[in-house]
Structure formats: structure tokens, C-alpha cells
């Protein structure tokens, strides 16, 4: 009797566990999409590249899609008509090759992309959360089904044991004493183990996440909309963040930098096309925000001149922005390495910044995230003469043994590339 119960519970737990594990092992389409594709593609809207929802159905074949993702330029060069059409249509901007993505990965990405539904009319600010919920819908379904099955199993088991008891009574056999569940040692032991595993999982996950702040979106002293500046007005990121090309820090511009344009632009006139809202849905008056800037920059908008002290120094004060992207002190990150040398688009790490009114942290900025990218990304091997010292790799490229060289292969995963 005991053994049977134990067996049935054991199988249920195993089944649940296997189910859980298998869901872990499958490629995570959303994560892959966000780390690889999201800088240029939106599932629903055209961005640098086309909207991806349903793209797998548009293209000639699955194999074509795989080839395209792995190395689109190769496909274009091969003279494939559809490839050339796409290339020309999208302004001849070549898509970054992703040789590291397996076919399953690509399938997973499209499974995810196709599952994305347009956000409901909840307002523009709800966008980020809406997509998360859409993805989580499946998980809820599975949970509900699992729970129903579990309840069913328990009912059946109770029925079964009740029937057996009745049968035993009928046959006059001495029936084993009923032990209530809460005193059943097997149940208690199982419960404790399950609780222990859950608590451990929660603790480890919590500890790992400690200090990370993905999706962190604080309120800033000035409502500065990247969407208005970089998106609608198409100002180059490097105009303000000039350090990104030269230095370790991308550099937040000082107020006098803003004044290069804002001496002329003293009010926000885009309210009709793009009214400004905070993440909480409150309306923001853009002109008022520009006034705030004038205060920081020490600008008198009436006299159209800087306010100066006795020594002729401009009475400017720095803006105390809330820092969103925080790396621990023992991490050395250099923007210029990635922007000037690696030619990585800002969006790859910062997300669609040109779509953000209020900036949030797009990437987890975890070491795993960095390492993943270093494993998958190819360096500008042929283009940058610095790499001419790697004779071995050049020979291998010449003989066709390899397509390119990833960051990992030139030591990009070694500790002292980032920790010193």
C-alpha cells in the first residue's frame, strides 16, 4: 500500500520534473531575439530591418531563412533573387551574420516572434509589460493544466483507496489503519524536499540577480526623451555621447552641449504628433523641461544670453542624472572598444533607445550576457589591420577552414580582458 502510494507520487514528481527540465532545455526564443535581433528588428514594426512577425512564412524556404541569418551577404553574393530584393529594399544595409545561431535557435526566435501580439490600447507606456505578459500566457496555461491533472490524480487516488477499503471490508480482511496525510511521513518528507528545492532555487536566483537591474527605469531630474531627439529628430547618438568612440565612458553631455541646439529651440512643438507621457502615464510638458535645462545651463531665455558671475564665469550647474547602467567596480568596460573597433550598434546593448521616451535598462548587463555576445560576435578581422598579427586565423580563412573569428577566439573570454 505504502509502496504504491510512494510509487505514484514518485512518478508524478518525476513527470513534473522532466516537464520542467525539458522546458529549460529548449532554446529561449525571447532571449535570443532580444540579445541578437532586437537592435534592428521589431516583431511588429519595420525598424532598421523588416518586421519579423510572419517573416518565416514570407521567405522562399526555411533553408533560405537559415542561410540568410547565418550569413546574408553570402546569399546576396550568390545572386539569389529574393535575397537581393530584400537587400535592396532595405537600403543595402547588410544584416550582421549570426553563424553561431543554430537552426533550432532560429526556429525558436520565430516561434517567439510569431507569438507576439500587438499591444492593446492600454497606452504607449504599457508596451514593455504587455509583451512580457503575452509571452507568459503559455506558462500560465501549462500551470493550470498541471494543477488540474494533479487534483485529478489526487481524486482518483482517493477514490481508488476508498474502493480498496470497501473491497477489503467486504472480504473481511483487516484493513490497514488510515493515516491522515499530514502525519504521513512520506508526504512530509516529500513536502520538505520540495520546499527545500524551491527555497534553494529562489535563494540562488535572488543572489544571482542581486545588483542587477534589468528594466530599471528611474525618474530623471529632466524628462529627456531619447525618442524625440534620436528617434524623431534623428540626432546621431555620438553627437551627444562623444566619448563612446574615444573613451571608456560614453559620456553624458554637459548642459552647455545641449545649448548648442537649445539656444534656438526653446519650446516643444511635437505635442500633436508625439505627446510626452511618463511611464506612469502622466502627461509631460516638453517646454517646461526645456526651461529646466536653461536653469541648469545658466541661460537666460529672455535676454538670450548666459548668466555670468562677477568673474565672467557662466553660472551653470550639472544635472544630477540617475545612473541607469551600473557595472560593478571590478568590471572594466570600454565603450570605444565596442563602438569604434567592434562597430557594434548602440541598440545592441541599449535596446531601441530611439523609441524610448524614458530610458530603461534593456540588457541584463550580467557577465553571462557579455560572455554570450563575445562567443557569438565576430570581430572586424579582415577590415582591421590590427588583427594582421593573427597569422594562423588568416591562413585558416584563406583555406576556407573558417568564416571569421569570434571575440572568444582572440581571447575575449579571458578574465583580464575585463577584470583588472
Amino acid at each position: 500500500m505504502f509502496r504504491r502510494i510512494a510509487q505514484s507520487i514518485f512518478t508524478t514528481v518525476i513527470a513534473l520534473f522532466v516537464f520542467q527540465v525539458s522546458s529549460f532545455a529548449a532554446p529561449d526564443g525571447k532571449a535570443l531575439f532580444q540579445s541578437n535581433c532586437a537592435s534592428c528588428h521589431n516583431p511588429l514594426k519595420d525598424a532598421t530591418g523588416p518586421a519579423l512577425k510572419g517573416a518565416d512564412a514570407r521567405v522562399p524556404s526555411k533553408e533560405w531563412l537559415y542561410d540568410w541569418v547565418h550569413n546574408s551577404q553570402k546569399l546576396v553574393a550568390s545572386g539569389d533573387k529574393y535575397a537581393n530584393d530584400v537587400y535592396n529594399k532595405w537600403g543595402k544595409i547588410p544584416m550582421t551574420p549570426f553563424p553561431a545561431l543554430s537552426n533550432e535557435d532560429i526556429d525558436a526566435i520565430f516561434t517567439y516572434v510569431n507569438s507576439v501580439e500587438p499591444p492593446s490600447a492600454a497606452g504607449p507606456a504599457a508596451g514593455a509589460t504587455a509583451t512580457t505578459e503575452a509571452k507568459d500566457g503559455n506558462a500560465w496555461l501549462y500551470t493550470v493544466i498541471t494543477l488540474i491533472l494533479l487534483v485529478l490524480a489526487i481524486i482518483l487516488w482517493r477514490v481508488n483507496s476508498g474502493l480498496r477499503k470497501v473491497a477489503e471490508q467486504k472480504e473481511g480482511l483487516p484493513s490497514s489503519e488510515e493515516i491522515p496525510l499530514y502525519r504521513n511521513k512520506v508526504f512530509i518528507a516529500m513536502g520538505v524536499i520540495i520546499l527545500f528545492i524551491l527555497a534553494g532555487y529562489w535563494l540562488v536566483n535572488g543572489a544571482v540577480e542581486l545588483g542587477r537591474q534589468q528594466n530599471y527605469q528611474p525618474e530623471q531630474p529632466v524628462f529627456y526623451s531619447h525618442k524625440v531627439h534620436a528617434g524623431i529628430n534623428q540626432i546621431n547618438c555620438l553627437y551627444c555621447h562623444a566619448g563612446a568612440e574615444k573613451s571608456r565612458q560614453a559620456m553624458i553631455p554637459s548642459p552647455n552641449m545641449c545649448m548648442n541646439c537649445h539656444k534656438q529651440i526653446s519650446e516643444y512643438t511635437g505635442d500633436a504628433d508625439h505627446p510626452l507621457y511618463t511611464a506612469e502615464g502622466e502627461r509631460v510638458d516638453g517646454t517646461k523641461e526645456i526651461q529646466k535645462l536653461y536653469k541648469y545651463a545658466g541661460w537666460d531665455p529672455v535676454k538670450k544670453d548666459y548668466i555670468r558671475d562677477a568673474n565672467g564665469n557662466v553660472k551653470a550647474t550639472p544635472v544630477k542624472w540617475v545612473k541607469i547602467h551600473n557595472l560593478p567596480d571590478h568590471v572594466y568596460f570600454n565603450h570605444s572598444q565596442h563602438v569604434a573597433v567592434g562597430k557594434i550598434a548602440c541598440q545592441r546593448c541599449h535596446g531601441n533607445i530611439e523609441e524610448m521616451d524614458e530610458v530603461f535598462q534593456f540588457a541584463p548587463l550580467s557577465m553571462g550576457w557579455c560572455v554570450n555576445c563575445h562567443r557569438q560576435t565576430q570581430v572586424q578581422f579582415a577590415e582591421n589591420n590590427y588583427y594582421s598579427i593573427f597569422e594562423k586565423y588568416h591562413n585558416e580563412i584563406k583555406t576556407g577552414q573558417r568564416d571569421g573569428v569570434t571575440v572568444e577566439e582572440i581571447g575575449g573570454l579571458e578574465c583580464q580582458k575585463c577584470h583588472y
Binding site: G298, D329, H330, Q337, I389
Partner: protein, 1067 residues
């Protein structure tokens, strides 16, 4: 090869049991807290355990609250155009301390000077630096610097003080004196002239704490000009130094070290080097580098000079010390051969006159001694200062202005001077801190630090060097020149005055900008050379020397340490205080240096004269009517009848916490003969009562007698340059080919051919033809591949390598401080140095050889030692968390945040270069009252001092291991620069901090994979005969190689097998 014996100290030579224990216990203490033995036997250990567990869990939870703090990112209000945050700016400037001069480049990050490098455009210092130059950036952030002017000890305003001082000056009540150190700034001199023009009763008096007046007066007698000549150690083939520590502290050590190293670089192709004779009474680094060294008492130094003079004229010397006689005869012969140079550290006019006569006799004037281009860096004559003091005592002085000197401390009659100051109504100090003199002054008008100042220097006539600030003044201080200008009634500021002066001098804005960018303005072409022939009254000088009877008994010498120098603000520089002295390896204190024989005579028991015991016996030293009790440190190579004490210690507590209560002030020991100082005087010494702990790093990191120094005489090297290579082949050649490939396989079949064949048997003699590049390559590569069972890892792209030339290294310690400044290395304080917990990534090991009883036999070798970045590193294999591992560029990487502090790596490192952070050395102030008991280093835990930290290097916290990284931040930066420009990295673009700091270019660094690089050529061509790797036989495959030390001498005195008995008998 004879088995030479090198030892760090007597304890190692003796190998006493106490020393063995020290060596066995690399970590002197197992844990920094005490665990009672009763803990586990207690009645309720389980409850205690639970209490501890509960407490630590709660404490950790509270400390690491899961709430993320809101961090701010604050940009500039108005960004300066030439600053990009995160990118360093470099400004050429000038280091001046008294007369000491160095052309420098200041590295600033986000407006803060964080590092000082040498300026290679200067033809005087030529990019070299010294430990003090490297450390001077820390003085800028010194907490004890005055933050505003003071009047009568209270904070005051400039205006109030200006009014009172001007009143004092104008009242013309008595004489006024402006007392300064040597001033080499042309604009400052002009301003002083202008100031004296306004107040004619002011007299400018110059003195130097460590004086060169004997030399100045002798030069005046010889040439009519009171100015020192320039020397050319690079041209000199024979260098004779009579007690001048010209590589460490004498006159212009950076310049001389740079020149000296030119003559000391040799290779098998060109086995020529200068010959350096040294006669000295204590042991200096210059003596350590000498090819032939003899000792004499300081009072005999005059007689030695005369004997050398006579020997050149053919008279044999007759000293009791045969080695000294031998040295004088040989030196005289070599000097006569031409290109000789004699220098003397004596402050006696007569001795210097004889030295001038010798230089004249050997034709040095105009070749190695340059009278046409004088050295302006020392101009002080102490007789002038004594006259000022007498005038003050007589009440004839109304105003005293003191700049750059500290006569109440750094003057032989400091106490008398301090008493006399009370008789002067208006006293003004320009000191940066409340030093001994400033405390007695009515007004203190603090001067800027030199990194905050405009200025200039003219170390040699026509050779100018400009000083520009690297930061705006941190405090309410005012340039000394501005004070003088204000008091002289001028309305211009010094900055404007200075700019106008130089604009006029160089002609136009464009030239001025270029001069400011270069940092130096120098005449084109080689330095002018010329010589006055006259040597003064030689006969008179000889007679005067003969008249001075050498004193019997002990003598005391007062000397400068290479780290602390004359004192000044250096005494409060924790970097310098913790820098081990090159010879004694002692930190944080001064002490009496005593020879081993004398120590034994004093009746010390053997254990306390060796270095194993920290507690040093106190010694009573009486000389010059001054008595002092100081701990005794045994220094092999000291003359047996000489003791030596360093100046710069025994400071007042207001000078700073690092300076206070360290050692005792030795300035009162200096004797004055009515004209000049005498730095030595007859002394009596006796054993005092009690002991005092001295933190000596000598016994830390022992090599346990493994052979790591390779040294040859020049004759040995010339005869057979390949003997080192042969020795290496004997050691490792056996492993450099696979056992199943026949070693005799001359020719085709073997993958590794004949070059590293059969080290055993007569085949080894085949190499008389010399060392070939192929031979070196096949030995190195064969050993790399076949000396291990494990796979050989590739280094695609870059493979970093370093080479250290033992012949060029003078042990000066500039690299140690350079490394400390670059890599945020913590100061641990005396208490923790005593526990072997010092953190220096780069240390300079000093090895003696010879017989300790006879100082003349002592030969000394310096070996800089840092992480060898082994390609097969023993430390990497034992790390349980893989916190230390290897990069594809050959770096032994240390990931601090992965380290859990097991210290296995340090235990397994044969080079003993790993250092464990026992404490949170840099952030201890994050809790209140959490600073360390050893208050001396506590000023390092402060927001002001932390401004010196290099933002590109992680500040390590407690519980992690650290070690040399090959300055990986610089390597990454050089690579990134090349990548951004899309070109391969150039050789020499990536330089380590130690390499850049070195004044003798002993350190070379580069990419060994690049066959055109200097390091590749050095290892495989130019210096292939001298190249060796320390402990390479254990197949660690170090990426640091050393070049053997070659001494230009007949014999390397090192206890060999036959002499070992003798050696033992001596102790």
C-alpha cells in the same frame, strides 16, 4: 661552474634554525584573529556555533541589504574642451625639490594628477625618474598640507598677513633674511631680485640640508666660479668614486644613473663596459654596483684621495688595507689610460681640491668633467646660515622669511636656531605643512605643491625646463613668488609674470606653446664641453689633509636614504616610508648601520645580529656631543669601525602621521668646522638596554638557497660568452628533446636537431663556436614542448615578455614606487610589514656574496622580482576556483572577485610574488573607528588621499590575492589605440610602469611573437648569451627573463665549495 653562494643576510648564510622556521612559514600567522583552544572543548560548542552562525547571517543580511542604492551620473556643468572623461591628459612639467631636478610628464585623469613619468625630451634626465619623483604625486594629496594661511598658529587671511609682513619689512628694524634652498628657477630669482630691490635690507641666503659646499668652494678656488661642474658618466671608461653615492643620493642621481647605464650595457658582440671603483665607508647602492670596492674610514677619505693623486704620479699607496692599496694602484693605472672620472662625496674643501687636481692630471676636464656647463642644482653654503643664526642670536634680525628649507630641523644646530628664532619679531614660513620651523613662525603662507604651480628650472645654464600645473590649487595656498610679488608691491600675478617672461624669451605664442608642450627648452646639438685646467692650491690641500690625523676608534656617518632623502615632506610619504631601503631592506625607521664584525664584538648573541628577529638591540651612539639611542641593523659591507645613521626621521607629529615618531633626527650629529659640514665624526658606541622592532623585508620571500643569480667576471664572459647557455643546457637540455628521439641524431630524422643534443658526455664541448640563434630557439622551444607531459598552449597574436638586465639595475627602487602608484598598491604600515604582509608587487631582492667579516669582500647584486607570468604556472593549477589562470597572451591573470583567499597559489609560487590582502587597506574608513592600530598608514584611508588612485585598476579588498599584472591596463590601452587606428601595435607602445620609471633602462618589455621587436631580438640575438630564466629547470616557463650580471673585475667573491669552510668560520 663553481657553486656561488649568494645570501640575503647573515641568517641565510648561517641557515640557523630560526631562519629555517621563518622560511617554512611563509604566512607568519595562520589567521588574523585568535581562536581559543577551549572553543571546541567547551561544554556547549554547538550553541556557540549557532550563535556565531546566527550573528553572521544577520550581520551579512543587514550589511548587504538587497535594496540597490540610487547612483548618480553627474556630467560637467561646462565640459572643458580638452578633457574627455576616461581619457588621460599628459602635461610636461618639472619636478623640483630644493635643487633636485627632474623633467616629468604628469598624467591626469579627469583633472587629477595620478602618475608621474619621466620626460624623455630632457637631455639631462632623459626620461628617468627616481623613487621620490614617482612618489611626489602622493604628497599633493597629503592630509597634513595646510589648507589656508596661518598667523600665530591660527587661521588667517592673506590680506591680514600681507599687511603685517609688509609693515615688518618696511620698518627696517634690523636686517631681514630670505632663507631658501637652492633656487634654480630663473623667474623666481628675478622676483627675489625685484623683492630685494624694494626692500634693500633683505639678504637672500641659500643653504642645502645635505650640503655640497666643500665642492663649491673647491671649484671656486680652482675656476673662480662658485659652481659645480657637470659630469659625463656615459663617456667615462674608468669611474672612481670616493664615497659619492652618485647612483642613489649624490648631486643628480637620475642624470648620473642614466649616464652610468650607458657604459654598463654590454653584449657578447661588444663585451666592453666601464670600470667602476668605489671607496666608501658605508654600503651604498653605488658601492653595490662597483666592480672593485674597498672600504675606509671617512676620516681616511682625504688620505685616499691624496694616495690616488700620488699613485697617478707613480707613488704606491701604503694603507693597512691591502685591498684599498690594490684598488688605488689599479684605478690610477686605468685613469691614466684616459676617459677617467673621479668624484668624491666629501664635503671637505681640501679633499675636493685634490679630486679636482686628479681630474686635471688625468685630462678629465673637458671630457668627463665639464666645467663649461655647470650644474646649478646645489648652491648652498652652510657658513652663511651659521652667520644668519649668529645674527639672530645677537638680536640683529628683524624679519626672517623661510622657503623650501626647515632650519629648525634639517640644520646641524636646529635647536639653537629654533631658540634664536624667538628673538626675531617677524618670521614667515612658506612651508606646505606645520613643519618644525613653521610652528615657530609668526606667519605661515603655504606655497603650492609643485603639481599645482607654474614655474621653471635651469639645472644647467641654457637648459630650461618649464613647470605647469596638473591641477588647480586644492587649498587656499599661494605661490611663493606671488607672495614676494605682492609684498614688493607688484600688481601682476606670478602666472602672468612667468608667461610674459617666457613669451619674451622664446619669442611668440607659437614657440611658447611648443615649449610648454615639450616641457624643456634646450640648445640644439650636443652639450657644450669644456674644462678649466686649474685645480686650486693642491699642495696646500694635501698638507692640510696630512695634518688631519685620522681618528682612532669608531666613526659615525650621517647619510641620506634613497627614499626619504633630506626629510622635508618626504618623511610623511607612506609610499616612501614603506619602500624597503635597497641595502638594509628596512622600512619605516632609521637605525644604526653596523658591520657584522662590530656587532659581534659588541657581544650580541648570534640570533639578534641576524635578521630573523624583528626586535633589534638598541645601541647608544655618542658623537659630536650628542647622544642617541637607536636600534642596530647589521649591514654587511660596512667598514668595521663605522656606524651610519640616516637623516629625515624623528619628525614632529604635526609633519604628519606617517612621519611622526619614526626614528630619530640625525642632523645634530653633523659637525661644523667653521666653514663646511663634516658628515662624519668620531663616535663611541655601546650596547643599550632593550630592543626596538624594525620592519625588515629581507627574510620575507626566501628563495631558500636556490641558484637564481648568474654572475660572471668580464674576463670569464669574454673568454666564453656561452658558458651561461651551456649551464642552461646542462640543466634543461636533457628534457628538451623527446627521450625516444636519439640525442645523437645529428641531421635528418629528429624533429629537434643537434643544437640541443646530448648535454651529457663530451658532446657538450661542441659549442665552443658560440651560441647560435637556432641553438637558443631549439633549447627554449624544445624544453617548452618536451619538458612536460601536458599539451603546449599556443599564443596566437601576442605573447608578452619582459627582460631585466641585472647589470643595469642599480636597485634604486624607482620601479617599486612607480608600480605602487600605477597599480593602487596598498601601504600596510609598519605593524604589518613586521608580519611579512607588505603588498609591493615588485620587490628588489638584494643578495650579498663574500665574507661578512671582511667588508671589502662583499659584492652585492640586485634582482627585481615580480610575477614571472609563467606559461606553466604552478599557482594556476592549485587554485580551487580558477581565480588565477592563463591568458592566450601569456599573462598570468588574477580575477580578484573570483578569489576566495585560500592562499594555495602563494604557497605554490616558487618566486614568492603573490600577496594576500589581510585587511581592507583602502576602504577601512567605511565604518567609524575602524582604522588600524598602526596609525601611521591611516592617512591612506581618506577621500583626499584616494584621489591618487588609478581609476583603471581595481582597488582590491580584504581576502583576495594579488600580484603583478604586467600592467595589463596599459597593455589593453596600447592594443585599443592600435585597433582604433586599424594598425598592428608598434613595438614599445605598451610599456609597463616599472619599465617607464627605470632610470637605467634595465627593464625591456614587448611582444615576443613579433620578430622585429626589441625583446625578441634581445632574447634570440643581441643578448642570447646572457639570457636566462629564474628556476627554469622546474618548467614554469617564465615570461620574464634576466640578463646575467657581469662585473668588470678579476674575481667574483662568492663562497665557492673550497671557501665555504672559511665562510662558515667567519661567523
Amino acid at each position: 661552474m663553481s657553486q656561488k653562494q649568494y645570501w640575503k643576510g647573515l641568517e641565510e648564510l648561517n641557515d640557523s634554525t630560526a631562519h629555517k622556521d621563518v622560511v617554512d612559514n611563509e604566512f607568519k600567522e595562520s589567521l588574523p584573529f585568535e581562536v581559543s583552544d577551549k572553543f571546541l572543548d567547551a561544554a556547549t560548542p554547538r550553541r556557540d556555533f549557532l550563535k556565531f552562525l546566527g550573528f553572521s547571517t544577520v550581520a551579512a543580511t543587514l550589511a548587504a541589504s538587497c535594496e540597490m542604492p540610487v547612483r548618480r551620473a553627474i556630467p560637467y556643468a561646462i565640459k572643458p574642451e580638452d578633457i574627455t572623461p576616461g581619457v588621460p591628459n599628459y602635461y610636461a612639467s618639472t619636478y623640483v625639490d630644493g635643487g633636485d631636478y627632474c623633467a616629468i610628464v604628469i598624467k591626469t585623469r579627469d583633472g587629477r594628477p595620478i602618475k608621474i613619468e619621466g620626460n624623455e625630451r630632457s637631455s639631462i634626465t632623459r626620461g628617468g625618474t627616481s623613487a621620490r619623483v614617482q612618489a611626489s604625486v602622493l604628497n599633493l594629496y597629503d592630509k597634513t598640507r595646510l589648507r589656508q594661511p596661518h598667523a600665530a598658529g591660527q587661521e588667517a587671511t592673506f590680506e591680514a598677513i600681507d599687511r603685517r609682513v609688509m609693515e615688518g619689512l618696511a620698518s627696517a628694524q634690523g636686517q631681514a633674511y630670505l632663507l631658501t634652498s637652492t633656487i634654480i628657477s630663473p623667474t623666481t630669482k628675478e622676483i627675489i631680485t625685484q623683492f630685494i630691490g624694494k626692500y634693500p635690507n633683505v639678504k637672500h641666503v641659500v643653504y642645502d640640508p645635505m650640503s655640497y659646499s666643500g665642492m663649491l668652494l673647491a671649484a671656486e678656488a680652482a675656476t673662480g666660479k662658485r659652481a659645480l661642474p657637470s659630469f659625463r658618466f656615459d663617456v667615462a671608461k674608468t669611474i672612481v668614486s670616493l664615497g659619492a653615492d652618485f647612483l642613489g643620493t649624490w648631486l643628480s642621481p637620475i642624470e648620473f644613473a642614466k649616464q652610468y647605464s650607458v657604459g654598463r650595457k654590454l653584449s657578447a658582440k661588444n663585451p666592453v663596459m666601464s670600470k667602476h671603483y668605489q671607496v666608501e665607508s658605508l654600503h651604498t647602492i653605488t658601492g653595490a654596483k662597483a666592480d672593485h670596492r674597498a672600504t675606509c674610514k671617512p676620516s681616511e677619505m682625504g688620505a685616499v684621495a691624496v694616495a690616488l693623486y700620488n699613485a697617478i704620479n707613480g707613488t704606491a699607496p701604503a694603507f693597512a688595507n691591502k685591498n684599498l692599496n690594490n684598488l688605488i694602484v689599479k684605478a690610477a693605472n686605468d685613469l691614466k689610460a684616459g676617459n677617467g672620472l673621479v668624484v668624491s662625496g666629501s664635503n671637505d674643501v681640501n679633499v675636493q681640491t685634490v679630486v679636482n687636481a686628479i681630474n686635471a692630471a688625468i685630462g678629465a676636464n673637458g671630457t668627463t668633467v665639464n666645467w663649461a656647463l655647470t650644474n646649478n642644482t646645489k648652491q648652498g653654503v652652510e657658513a652663511d646660515l651659521v652667520a644668519v643664526m649668529n645674527a639672530m642670536e645677537a638680536g640683529q634680525v628683524g624679519t626672517l622669511l623661510v622657503h623650501g628649507v626647515n632650519p629648525a630641523y634639517d640644520f646641524a644646530f636646529g635647536q639653537k636656531f629654533a631658540a634664536a628664532m624667538k628673538k626675531v619679531p617677524v618670521t614667515v614660513s612658506f612651508a606646505d605643512r606645520m613643519d618644525e620651523t613653521a610652528q615657530l613662525c609668526t606667519y605661515v603662507v603655504p606655497d603650492h605643491h609643485f603639481l599645482e604651480s607654474w614655474g621653471d628650472a635651469e639645472p644647467k645654464p641654457g637648459y630650461y625646463s618649464l613647470m605647469q600645473p596638473g591641477i588647480a590649487p586644492l587649498f587656499k595656498t599661494r605661490a611663493f613668488q606671488d607672495s614676494l610679488l605682492t609684498w614688493a608691491g607688484a600688481t601682476t600675478t606670478y602666472a602672468d609674470y612667468w608667461k610674459q617672461y617666457w613669451m619674451g624669451k622664446v619669442g611668440g605664442q607659437e614657440n611658447f606653446d611648443r615649449a610648454l608642450q615639450d616641457g624643456v627648452i634646450e640648445p640644439a646639438g650636443e652639450m657644450a664641453v669644456g674644462g678649466g685646467a686649474a685645480a686650486g692650491n693642491v699642495a696646500g690641500a694635501i698638507a692640510a689633509i696630512a695634518a688631519q690625523k685620522p681618528a682612532a676608534g669608531m666613526e659615525l656617518v650621517v647619510y641620506q636614504k634613497i627614499s626619504i632623502g633630506h626629510g622635508g615632506s618626504w618623511s610623511n610619504n607612506p609610499w616612501l616610508q614603506e619602500m624597503p631601503d635597497p641595502i638594509t631592506k628596512a622600512t619605516w625607521d632609521n637605525y644604526v648601520c653596523v658591520s657584522p664584525k662590530k656587532a659581534k664584538e659588541l657581544g650580541e648573541e648570534l640570533t639578534s645580529i641576524t635578521e630573523v628577529v624583528n626586535a633589534k638591540r638598541l645601541l647608544k651612539v655618542k658623537a659630536n656631543n650628542v647622544e642617541m639611542e637607536l636600534p642596530m641593523v647589521v649591514v654587511p659591507g660596512m667598514h668595521n669601525d663605522v656606524v651610519a645613521i640616516a637623516v629625515g626621521y624623528g619628525r614632529n607629529e604635526k609633519v604628519g602621521r606617517a612621519a611622526a615618531n619614526t626614528g630619530k633626527n640625525a642632523y645634530p650629529f653633523i659637525a661644523f668646522n667653521g666653514q663646511t659640514y663634516n658628515y662624519s665624526s668620531p663616535a663611541t658606541i655601546e650596547k643599550g638596554a632593550g630592543t626596538y622592532d624594525i620592519a625588515i623585508t629581507q627574510t620575507h620571500h626566501s628563495y631558500e638557497g636556490r641558484p637564481i643569480i648568474r654572475e660572471y667576471t668580464i674576463d670569464e664572459f669574454r673568454k666564453d660568452p656561452g658558458q651561461l647557455f651551456k649551464a642552461r643546457e646542462n640543466e634543461i637540455g636533457h628534457y628538451s628533446h623527446l627521450a625516444w628521439v636519439t640525442p645523437e641524431g645529428h641531421g635528418a630524422e629528429g624533429a629537434h636537431g643537434e643544437a640541443h643534443a646530448a648535454p651529457h658526455g663530451p658532446a657538450a664541448a661542441d659549442h665552443s663556436a658560440g651560441v647560435t640563434a637556432e641553438g637558443v630557439k631549439s633549447l627554449d622551444e624544445g624544453f617548452r614542448e618536451n619538458g612536460t607531459l601536458y599539451p603546449n598552449f599556443e599564443h596566437p597574436g601576442i605573447h608578452w615578455g619582459m627582460s631585466i638586465d641585472l647589470n643595469s639595475c642599480i636597485g634604486c627602487g624607482a620601479c617599486v614606487i612607480g608600480c605602487q602608484a600605477e597599480n593602487n598598491i596598498s601601504v600596510v604600515g609598519k605593524k604589518y610589514v613586521l608580519k611579512s604582509q607588505e603588498m609591493h608587487w615588485l620587490r628588489i631582492d638584494r643578495y650579498f656574496s663574500g665574507m661578512p667579516e671582511d667588508p671589502d669582500t662583499i659584492q652585492t647584486v640586485f634582482q627585481p622580482m615580480m610575477c614571472q607570468h609563467c606559461d606553466n604556472a604552478p599557482c594556476e593549477n592549485v587554485c580551487p576556483v580558477s581565480a588565477t589562470n592563463h591568458s592566450s597572451e601569456g599573462l598570468n591573470q588574477m580575477a580578484y572577485n573570483r578569489c576566495i583567499g585560500t592562499k594555495y597559489c602563494a604557497n605554490n609560487c616558487p618566486y614568492k610574488v603573490r600577496h594576500f590582502n589581510w585587511m581592507d587597506w583602502n576602504g577601512a574608513d567605511c565604518f567609524e573607528d575602524n582604522l588600524y592600530e598602526d596609525y601611521r598608514r591611516d592617512d591612506m584611508n581618506d577621500d583626499q588621499t584616494r584621489m591618487v588612485l588609478n581609476p583603471d585598476v581595481t582597488v582590491r579588498s580584504r581576502g583576495v590575492m594579488e600580484k603583478c599584472t604586467f600592467c595589463v591596463q596599459r597593455l589593453q590601452d596600447a592594443k585599443l589605440t592600435a585597433k582604433k587606428e586599424g594598425r598592428p601595435m608598434k613595438d614599445g607602445e605598451a610599456r609597463t610602469a616599472c619599465q617607464q620609471a627605470c632610470p637605467t633602462e634595465a627593464i625591456l618589455f614587448g611582444n615576443v611573437n613579433d620578430k622585429s621587436s626589441a625583446i625578441y631580438k634581445l632574447r634570440h640575438d643581441e643578448q642570447k648569451e646572457r639570457t636566462y630564466y629564474v628556476l627554469e629547470q622546474i618548467h614554469t616557463l617564465p615570461n620574464v627573463n634576466y640578463l646575467s650580471n657581469i662585473r668588470n673585475t678579476d674575481v667574483i667573491i662568492a663562497g665557492d665549495e673550497t671557501k665555504d669552510g672559511l665562510l662558515k668560520a667567519h661567523i
